[in-house]
């Protein structure tokens, strides 16, 4: 590999801060210790984690390094580079494992302007503190007067103290009270939520990190940056007026009447420098708190608090593409601003033919209720997926099946009632009583404590497919997929309508991960790929599914390293887009193959951590990933364990991992430039014998 070994003067700012809360010390690490071999973002965080942690550490231990890492494109003006990777041992994964997250907003850009490519936070402060990063200077401040504040209040107070230019990443009461599903919140209502990193901050007595920066970030090629601003995502230049609607009409399946003009909506960007406006923005909405009204940002999930009578459907063009029509994942879901389709495409009708979501009838349309629930989640700092997709649906299905008849939550169980949801989330976030403490452990653990057989696996018979109209889809009352996370385009339960070529690939990506991977790994492929994989049984024998998952995972690494966003990458008809981003930012010229290898290195090192710390192997991950596939997809198809096993064989082959154990071979470690990891794996007895290499 013609790899650059010196850290370029462009893109990066050269320093990573190691912040120890226990003794309030700061150590500066040169970024060049890691980059460009580990390009940035998550790759650097993974390498640091591999180097500094030992097996046996728990998520809420002081030693757990909580890392915020930018990429070389961050703050350069390259679209979507503003996103920030957040990595640590995750409390909301089951079991606790090393994990990643990412968030938009301005935090990462400000970090770069302040002179840091990233920060690593370890230790535990004696009293609640916040950390201030101001143009290279890092200081520790008493946060006792902020402890207990809601996330918006906390951000506003910090802005009042440190100025409007200050951007903060904060936790709310959920993080303070170590709720495993607690989020880290930052500007534009961006969160790193799923892994529960808010609880990691809480365990460190760290209420917030405030960043101010007036430094420069210099990209290598300004003209190239400007060109990318006009080409990435095929952005539309058109006005973005606040619309006053008479309906809550955000998706095909979220559509009901409201008081005239009550729904005020438009779109906003999620992060510094993005050239799109993918996020739905609703104004003057009902708040759950004394501020009465608030503006809210909705990405994917929040809108389902408004109404869930029908599951989220999809149309092939959201994920599967032709040369004439290829968009970002989920584009056209209502929040985004899609370009008009090319009507000369003979496949346009196929691309746009909707696969509707199943009929669920969980809760009817109520705009105020939806806004209150979203506001509760945002202000408390708790993961909306855990609440809306999992807790609320489970309560409905559990009640209807009679499973919850002995459960006394102090009010009638009714997720469609905003007062009930306020009552319930107050119990959870402040860990009130048995039930509050139980659900504060996150849904996966709560259900296991109650007894998974009854409280998780009881079959609900009320979901009716609309892809095969009238077909009853019997799935468990708990929308659990893998690693303590809930369904997300897994072909079952919530977002259950993608075809097998999608959900099998997504399942493989989930298998080797430690959390819901669909936030950065929406499946993309050609329309031909989709059509070739419509039969789930045959698709399990099709290497293209394994290759699709591999591509999705590599691109996910790129998004988290370069950095980029899941709604702009991958562009399957512009395969070297990320190479161009990297070159524009840093001057590093990599071929597509070279960038792929750099990302393989990062992914394999992630796997090494899981092998070392969490006994990751095929015997562990295959059954974990398989579980949802035993239940029917929207066409009634299920997958047998032996069928999935054949697909896993193909997938391991693509990665260069041993079929029997799922461990990378020595050849794979060496190819990725990780000889030292190979030695460590040999010492641990986790290097597959040469004869097993594929």
């Amino acid at each position: 590999m013609s790899e650059q070994t010196q850290l370029p003067q462009y893109g990066y700012v050269g320093k990573i801060a190691w912040i120890d809360l226990t003794d309030q010390s700061v150590k500066i690490i040169p970024t060049s210790d890691y980059a460009p071999k580990f390009i940035g973002g998550r790759a650097i965080a993974t390498k640091i984690y591999w180097d500094v942690t030992k097996p046996g550490m728990k998520a809420l231990d002081p030693e757990n390094p909580l890392m915020f890492m930018t990429g070389p494109t961050t703050a350069t003006g390259i679209p979507t580079g503003g996103r920030t990777s957040v990595c640590a041992m995750a409390p909301n994964n089951l079991p606790e494992q090393f994990c990643w997250g990412n968030m938009g907003g301005w935090f990462g850009a400000k970090l770069k302007f302040a002179g840091f490519d990233g920060i690593v936070i370890v230790g535990r402060a004696e009293i609640p503190v916040y950390v201030k990063i101001d143009d290279g200077e890092i200081t520790f401040h008493d946060a006792r007067n902020l402890w207990g504040t809601l996330t918006h209040d906390c951000q506003e107070k910090l802005s009042a103290i440190h100025g409007k230019e200050a951007v903060s990443a904060v936790i709310g009461p959920a993080g303070e009270n170590l709720c495993r599903n607690a989020s880290i919140n930052t500007s534009n209502d961006n969160v790193a939520a799923k892994a529960g990193f808010g609880a990691v901050m809480g365990s460190k007595n760290l209420k917030a990190i405030v960043v101010k920066g007036t430094g420069d970030v210099r990209p290598y090629d300004v003209d190239m940056v400007l060109k990318l601003r006009k080409t990435m995502g095929n952005p539309q230049r058109k006005a973005n007026p606040v619309e006053h609607l008479d309906r809550c009409a955000f998706r095909a399946h979220i559509n009901f009447e409201t008081e005239p003009g009550v729904v005020k909506k438009t779109n906003v960007s999620c992060s510094h420098g993005c050239n799109m406006r993918c996020n739905l923005f609703v104004l003057d909405t009902k708040s759950a708190f004394p501020r009465k009204v608030t503006n809210q940002v909705h990405k994917c999930i929040g809108v389902y608090a408004f109404q869930m009578t029908e599951d989220c459907g999809m149309f092939p063009g959201m994920f599967f593409h032709t040369e004439k029509n290829h968009n970002q994942a989920c584009l056209g879901q209502g929040a985004q601003v899609p370009p008009p389709p090319d009507t000369s495409d003979p496949y346009l009708e196929e691309l746009m033919t909707r696969r509707p979501g199943s009929t669920m009838n969980f809760w009817d349309g109520d705009y105020d209720r939806g806004n209150v629930i979203n506001d509760l989640c945002t202000q408390y700092g708790i993961d909306k997926w855990d609440v809306i997709v999992w807790l609320m649906t489970w309560l409905v299905m559990g009640k209807r099946t009679g499973v919850l008849e002995d459960m006394d939550l102090g009010m009638e169980i009714d997720p469609g009632n905003e007062e009930f949801m306020k009552h319930l989330l107050d119990m959870i976030v402040y860990r009130k009583g048995y039930w509050g403490n139980l659900f504060a452990e996150g849904m996966a653990r709560a259900i296991r404590t109650l007894g998974k057989e009854k409280y998780g696996d009881t079959i609900y018979k009320g979901i009716i497919s609309n892809v095969v109209p009238g077909l009853q889809l019997d799935i468990p009352i708990s929308f659990e997929s893998s690693w303590g996370h809930c369904f997300h385009w897994q072909g079952r339960g919530f977002q259950g309508s993608p075809p097998p070529g999608y959900y099998l690939s997504a399942t493989l990506m989930l298998m080797t991960n430690t959390r819901d991977a669909q936030t950065n790994s929406h499946v993309h492929g050609t329309l031909d790929y989709m059509k070739e994989t419509m039969d789930a049984h045959k698709a399990c024998l099709n290497r293209k599914v394994a290759e699709n998952a591999f591509m999705g995972e590599i691109k996910a690494e790129m998004k988290e390293c370069v950095t980029c966003c899941d709604l702009q990458s991958p562009q399957i008809f512009w395969p070297d887009m990320e190479c161009q981003m990297l070159e524009a930012a840093t001057g590093i010229k990599m071929t597509e193959e070279e960038l792929y290898l750099a990302c393989e290195r990062s992914k394999n090192l992630f796997r090494a951590i899981l092998m070392r710390d969490s006994n990751r192997c095929r015997a562990q991950e295959e059954p974990e990933a398989y579980r949802p596939l035993q239940y029917p997809d929207c066409e009634g198809q299920t997958v047998a364990p032996e069928e999935f096993a054949k697909l896993v064989d193909l997938y391991y082959d693509v990665w260069g991992w041993d079929r029997e154990t799922g461990w990378p071979t020595r050849e794979t470690w060496i190819r990725c430039g990780l000889e030292d990891v190979a030695e460590e794996m040999e010492r641990l007895g986790k290097l597959p014998p040469e004869k097993s290499s594929k």
Partner: protein, 171 residues
């Protein structure tokens, strides 16, 4: 034409020249990407950063009602009047009446900054202690870069017609 308030100090419209404005949210809401100031600093200074911008994007982290502060191109040009090296360091374009800075001559005294009648100030000193201000990208073929790169047409020229929702503008 509808113009958003441009700061806590205001001057009558007749005292202002042709300048960049932020449209009302009902015409087009600023999506909050900051492209205006990013592109401004990239094109003029080759870097991204708040010390290198000539347009001042104020990010509202919570309610997302962002503000864009711009030089109003005052017709009586108090910044030019305050410059001790006027017509060398700070000049007036004879065709457009726009005040622009010749950085080579600028001594960084910041009198122009103090003379700016607006809050926040629309002129600043860059990292090299040179005054920088919006000159509508003087000499640039496509006009002001911030307008060209604003994807949601949230800013425009004060003599422009408001953008029409739904109409895609090609560059």
């Amino acid at each position: 034409m509808k113009e958003k308030k441009q700061g806590i100090k205001e001057r009558p419209a007749e005292e202002l020249g042709r300048h960049i404005i932020q449209w009302d949210p009902d015409i087009s809401l600023c999506a909050g990407c900051g492209a205006c100031e990013i592109v401004c600093s990239l094109i003029h200074e080759g870097v991204s950063g708040s010390r290198s911008r000539r347009i001042f994007f104020e990010h509202d982290s919570i309610q997302l009602m962002h503000k864009v502060y711009t030089c109003q191109q005052c017709l009586d040009h108090p910044c030019y009047n305050a410059c001790p090296l006027k017509d060398k360091a700070m000049l007036i374009d004879p065709e457009t009446n726009i005040v622009y800075v010749n950085e080579e001559e600028c001594i960084g005294c910041a009198r122009c900054v103090k003379a700016c009648p607006f809050e926040p100030k629309r002129i600043q000193l860059n990292r090299n202690k040179k005054a920088i201000k919006c000159d509508l990208c003087r000499g640039r073929e496509n006009g002001p870069a911030c307008i060209e790169y604003c994807q949601c047409l949230a800013i425009g020229m004060s003599d422009d017609s408001p953008p029409v929702p739904g109409v895609v503008v090609k560059v």
